[in-house]
């Protein structure tokens, strides 16, 4: 009787709207959160921080943002790397221009700047769809990287063209710069991700999410029942870019510490984010997390296995890893287009019926 709906009747619409309608699921979720917030910080070291946990949190935020645009609203984007760069450079400019501004607000403002930029590049979505929109966002990607390379103002005329995050603190505890402790950067990112995921879940379960999905599923019918296409698509671009901008700001300031735009925010990042939402599950909050976890953890695991345990050369291991991920993407596109989130749902169905599968 670990996982049952029986005896867990919904008597109000409020209960029926819950994020985790099944009690055991709710308990599991809060236990996991307690572990993440209260236990992990005591054990985290800099390897786990830099190789596993912080990239996982940041990429989960990116995937969440892209999933809102592509998974929920149906607008394909290949500009994710470029929007992350906008967040990163906004963060850098704000950090250096306003040294006293709390980093939390710097990160949020970076998201706002990215949201504006995202809306501008979202304007063509009113006229073009699908493949053509993907190409337009790809153009945004290259344009944005070009801009950040071209105009030295963005990197404060530094000779290397790099941007470097100065030390900033929250409640007197450094979360950026070389002196930031692993637990501090981890908790900072985790808190932001938690808030953003909760917000995204709320947006997608109500009116806003339905208007996005209506546009995704059938835009003409959506307009005829009163969904304004321009407003709705732009709102998806804005929210999505906001998330991706915040993630880009964290990626630069907390995770990398120093960044060169072409290397840190290239087209490969756009594809990585897209693969995350495809593998994780389009139109699923959980899927964003599963996809990010999968693509952040898999390379770490494979590297430990191939290079660490089997002693293979790193370049061979890297190639095998790329092929494996490519194969998995093809697998998911063909066999399970709804991604890991759907596999999870199916597993739950089985568990619910177990041990009497009738």
């Amino acid at each position: 009787m670990l996982y049952r709906e029986a005896g867990d009747f919904k008597t109000t619409y409020r209960e029926d709207n819950q994020t985790f309608p099944i009690k055991s699921e709710r308990i599991l979720f809060w236990a996991a959160m307690a572990f993440a917030f209260l236990v992990v910080p005591f054990f985290i070291d800099s390897y786990w921080e830099k190789s596993v946990l912080v990239p996982l949190l940041v990429w989960a935020l990116v995937a969440l943002g892209l999933n809102i645009l592509t998974g929920y609203c149906g607008q394909v984007s290949l500009g994710t790397g470029g929007f992350m760069a906008v967040g990163a450079f906004a963060c850098y400019k704000l950090m250096t221009a306003f040294p006293d501004l709390n980093i939390f607000f710097v990160v949020l403002l970076s998201g706002c700047v990215t949201a504006l930029v995202g809306m501008i590049f979202g304007l063509p979505s009113l006229r073009i769809k699908g493949f053509y929109l993907a190409v337009a966002t790809l153009a945004a990607q290259f344009f944005l990287i070009w801009v950040f390379n071209k105009f030295a103002w963005f990197y404060n005329y530094s000779a290397s063209g790099q941007i470097t995050a100065p030390e900033r603190a929250v409640f007197g505890i450094a979360v950026t710069g070389p002196n930031a402790a692993p637990w501090a950067t981890y908790l900072f990112c985790l808190t932001i991700l938690f808030i953003f995921a909760w917000f995204a879940r709320n947006l997608t379960r109500g009116r806003v999410g339905r208007s996005w999905m209506a546009i995704r599923d059938m835009d003409i019918a959506a307009e005829i029942i009163g969904v304004e296409p321009l407003k709705t698509k732009l709102s998806a671009f804005a929210v999505s870019s906001f998330y991706i901008g915040v993630a880009g700001a964290l990626f630069f300031s907390v995770y990398l510490g120093a960044a060169e735009v072409t290397e840190a925010f290239g087209i490969d990042k756009s594809f990585l984010a897209l693969f995350m939402v495809i593998i994780g599950g389009l139109g699923s909050i959980l899927g964003s997390f599963l996809g990010a976890a999968f693509l952040v953890l898999l390379p770490v695991l494979l590297k430990n296995l191939f290079v660490g345990s089997l002693g293979w050369p790193t370049d061979v291991a890297a190639h095998i890893q790329i092929m494996l991920i490519g194969g998995l993407i093809v697998f998911f596109l063909i066999v399970e287009p709804h991604g890991l989130a759907q596999l999870w749902r199916l597993a739950k169905e089985k568990l619910r019926l177990w041990p009497f599968p009738y």
Partner: protein, 278 residues
């Protein structure tokens, strides 16, 4: 059961009071002409829809019926003519603006949101009635949740009414055709429209499904007082349901009046029997 639905529905009376008495002109289309390149889909058509009635639009395939509905809800823009809805003459209007003014519709080819459940599809029908902005919805607790629950109650009334409780949480893509048509009607009803446009609501249904759908249409009209304009091929159904009938043929109006009168009109008989045009 239906009594409490009525209460649910009437709590949202924002669109009911437009000063037009039952039987007055809710919609008037005057001298509408619409062409696509060289093809004239509608030529100089005028008719009216009175508040509270069921108005049928009939005619052979390609007569321009669907185009007429598309003109009424702003999806097509006629080259000529005037549309007056609820006393206001309208100029060019986008479909979502028409929706806001109280026009809802269903489609000849089902146009549900395939990735969403029955419940979410019908909830989407209330999008023009939901007022809370994105910020509140992101916070959820408080105003947004109250709004969602309030609309959920209204939608549950519609779900009861259409007898689709059992498929509430089912993704609509996996439903049989007849039920999809019913969900689509539910989505249109959810908007509490002043004028409901139905494009061949019974096409492709078996007899039993047709009878169910006819009953729902009559009930919508009588219980909620919703004015309905519907396109239908089945003459029997049209005679049973409608108060007045407009007959179109090759983009022109060839008949207009009560069902009995239209049925005996020679032009109409010719059009339906496929008598060649001179």
């Amino acid at each position: 059961m239906n009594v409490h639905i009525r209460e649910d529905m009437s709590r949202h009376t924002l669109r009911a009071d437009d000063g037009i008495a039952t039987g007055g002109d809710l919609l008037k289309v005057d001298n509408i002409s619409l062409s696509f390149g060289g093809v004239k889909a509608i030529s100089d058509i005028s008719f009216d829809v009175r508040k509270g009635e069921i108005r049928a639009i009939i005619g052979p395939n390609g007569a321009g019926k669907t185009s007429m509905l598309n003109v009424i809800n702003g999806f097509y823009h006629p080259q000529e003519g005037v549309i007056t809805f609820r006393g206001k003459t309208r100029s060019r209007m986008r479909p979502h603006e028409a929706a806001r003014q109280g026009i809802a519709r269903t489609f000849q080819n089902i146009a549900l949101f395939k990735g969403m459940s029955t419940l979410d599809n019908i909830m989407t029908g209330r999008i023009t009635l939901q007022k809370r902005n994105m910020f509140w919805h992101g916070l959820w607790a408080g105003p947004a949740e109250r709004e969602e629950i309030e609309h959920r109650e209204a939608v549950e009334g519609i779900i009861d009414f259409l007898e689709i409780e059992h498929i509430r949480k089912t993704p609509v893509g996996s439903l049989p055709y007849g039920l999809q048509k019913r969900v689509e009607l539910g989505r249109a009803l959810a908007a509490e429209p002043a004028l409901l446009l139905l494009d061949e609501p019974m096409a492709g249904m078996n007899l039993e499904e047709k009878e169910d759908m006819s009953r729902f249409i009559l009930d919508v009209n009588q219980q909620f007082g919703t004015t309905i304009a519907l396109i239908e091929h089945d003459m029997g159904v049209v005679m049973d349901l409608s108060d007045r009938v407009v007959v179109l043929d090759y983009g022109r109006k060839i008949g207009d009046g009560p069902p009995d009168e239209v049925r005996n009109n020679q032009d109409v008989i010719d059009a339906y029997l496929g008598v060649p045009h001179e």
